[in-house]
Amino acid sequence: MARTEPKKDVVIVGLGWTGSIMGIEMAKQGLEVLALERGADRYTVPDFRYPDVIDELKYGVRFGFMQKPRNSTVTIRRTLQETALPYRQLGSFLPGDGVGGAGIHWNGHNWRAMENEFILRSYVEDNFGADIIPEDMTIQDWGVTYAELEPHFDRFEYMLGLSGQAGNVNGQIIEGGNPFEAPRSRDFPLPPLKQTYDATLFADAARAMGYHPFPRPAANASGVWTNEYGMQLGPCNYCGFCERYGCLNYSKASPQTCILDALRRMPNFSYRTNSEVLRVDLAEDRQTATGVTYWDEEAQEEVFQPADIVMLCAYSLHNVHLMLLSGIGEPYNPATGEGVTGKNYAYQMNGGTTLFFKDKLFNPFIGAGANGMSMDDFAINQIDFAAEGFIGGSYITAGVTNGQPIRGIGLPSGTASWGEEWKTAITEWYGHSMSIGSHGSNMAYRDCYLDLDPTYTDRHGRPLMRMTFNWKPNDIRMTQFMRSKIEPIAESMNPDTWQSSYKGEGAQYDVRPYQTTHNVGGAIMGDDPNTSVVNRYLQAWGQHNLFSLGAAAFPQNIQYNPTGVVGALAYWAADAITRDYLPNPRPLV
């Protein structure tokens, strides 16, 4: 028999980036807010303290801060015909676990999306005609526009203390920033980080070719910053242990450094760790959620937590899993294209070129999570899709973030991977290579989706979620196009040798090497309940007191890292809930 806890106004599932934002915004309204987090509690001290956190094996290689597949994972297949198999060991993506979520161990590349990315289908149809959209491509508009989100991007960035250089403030183009970006209402909170040697060489070469490089927007503080919650950040020391690690220096924006200490002080907010939510409970008429049921690890029992409002903040994949398990929205069916829950899972199409220089020393162990230079000359709003034969775009970028040796030392292709030759090569080339990367969009397709696995179950006996995903020709053409733009930049830099790695024709999704933890879609937003799971305010179409935050809402993936948009959407939803929903709870659309 499940224990029942006293009712709360709001229950939040997961205390990572979105859970922390919704937690503090709802608590500020005077509501009784409870967050349930499946993992452990985490503080800068002792969890990210120097020197213990500077441990590549424990955190970089054995994934000390991440989700343990034994407790939570998915199954994966590439086609509808294949049998999905469990993602038994982390590789391609690394979901977070514990207070702070993946927000503690991200790099901090924090972007806004382009205006046209929010209205992608309309943009393509209006500018190039509906007939250029491949038959199996299921891209959609978001139901919200960039102009509507701008104040919320701004708020999120000022909350993070973002370092960078604006390129477009209210339509005025600013030298040194990104001239192709959507207009912002003001400059960045902090100036750009210092640049490493590789980024500087890339930017010089790009400029010489007539491109427009600018500093990568970094949630690693370049100076001191105090945010709206009174939380303080200090200047980043380029420690070279950013991604996969908690910040030892109070410099990386994270729930810990930006929100949690302020939130913990609010008497109407509380949280419970080691409390994994198993399902959302619905009223008999299924029109509202009544609360959630979670597993109390300490007591080893199920607990029912009633609440007036339920907010799913469990990371994209887990939000969708919980919805599928709880019967929220009709499960998507790839055969008919009907149903919504699980629809339009998408990922990120990346590639890169590595350059080797005998006479240049890059000191790769010196780097912040997000220092570096980027260019948007081939961004999604700069490309003639009809002429190029694909829909999408990329930002192109260089900037070393770490030189941790277990995770790999770049060597010219053909070099042995062991023995005398390898041992000599690593002394010759460590610190003598750099990369130029393409970070690109990934469209949504009829047969890329999430549902429940028919075979494999988790430790609670629930079906694992099944991911069906593969690379598609449109996105492969996009990345090959980027290759044709990056290689001339690389050649102009006169390296001793260089090599490229971009997905080519027939590329299959490989779950082993790390790619990105930018899993999006599955609980997508939109303006029609027949084609989306949540409305433009991230409110479930079927249950007005249920909200789903995070990148599950993206109808297809943007060309950027997701968190800038995830944060803006969280503030946008919080604003709508505060102004419009709390005074009169109902479907907002």
Partner: protein, 231 residues
């Protein structure tokens, strides 16, 4: 199996707690180097049998050979691997290991063997040694260096016949060997920070504000370990 004395002392030193480690890192350590551990020949493995230990000693010596600079043996990589296999890594504590297992699935779908890393070493070493006996009339460790080189190449190219649940053996061995060369010395390998010194990685320094814009200039400081030991 009783632990040789050096192990107890080394454990004691490393296990002195985070507080002790932090102190040594921040203050100037009294001893820039930890005491020299017992030679590898006297090491009593926690996981490996004697036969497996011989295999791992010879195999890692091929993967990262000794020479003018230390290789896997001087870096005590075999100790690292032994301790890892005796820990949660060896028993796949973090991985999803429930069946059914389709061990011969497309490798792109990742680890699908029903075996843990420790079991892969156990069964894999036995299988490779049996194959060496069959083809060269001796276990791997007793083969001539040239023959060992050939066997290792064959193993790396999937030319040693192994059942599908063991096909991850070479990648696992190579990965763990490199880990043992480059992980913090507290895990038993990278002795005297040999791996870090070899490539010029400064270890746990992690503070470079004044260095980031000194471009194309060699970084002057040697490595430091989490314990505060300096290379």
């Amino acid at each position: 199996m009783p632990l040789p004395d050096w192990k107890t002392t080394r454990r004691g030193f490393l296990g002195g707690g985070a507080g002790a480690a932090a102190l040594t890192a921040m203050a100037v350590p009294l001893h820039a180097q930890s005491p020299e551990p017992e030679p590898l020949e006297n090491y009593a493995p926690e996981y490996f049998t004697a036969e497996e230990w011989q295999f791992v000693m010879s195999a890692t010596a091929l993967l990262i050979p000794s020479g003018p600079t230390p290789g896997a043996i001087e870096a005590r990589v075999p100790v690292f691997i032994d301790l890892q296999l005796a820990s949660g890594f060896g028993s796949a504590d973090d991985w999803y290991m429930a069946g059914p297992h389709i061990a011969d699935a497309d490798p792109l779908l990742g680890w699908q063997s029903p075996l843990t890393p420790a079991e892969i070493y156990r069964e894999g070493i036995a299988a490779v040694n049996a194959w060496c006996e069959q083809t060269h009339e001796a276990p791997f460790a007793d083969l001539l260096p040239q023959t060992q080189q050939e066997v290792m190449t064959a193993l790396s190219e999937d030319e040693v016949p192994l059942p599908p649940e063991l096909r991850g053996l070479f990648d696992l061995l190579l990965q763990n060997t490199k880990e043992g060369f480059f992980a913090d010395p507290k895990y038993g390998g990278n002795h005297r920070m040999a791996g870090w010194t070899h490539i010029g990685f400064p270890g746990a320094r992690a503070s470079f504000l004044e260095w980031v814009d000194k471009h194309n200039v060699p970084y002057p400081l040697g490595p430091v370990a989490i314990s505060g030991e300096r290379g």
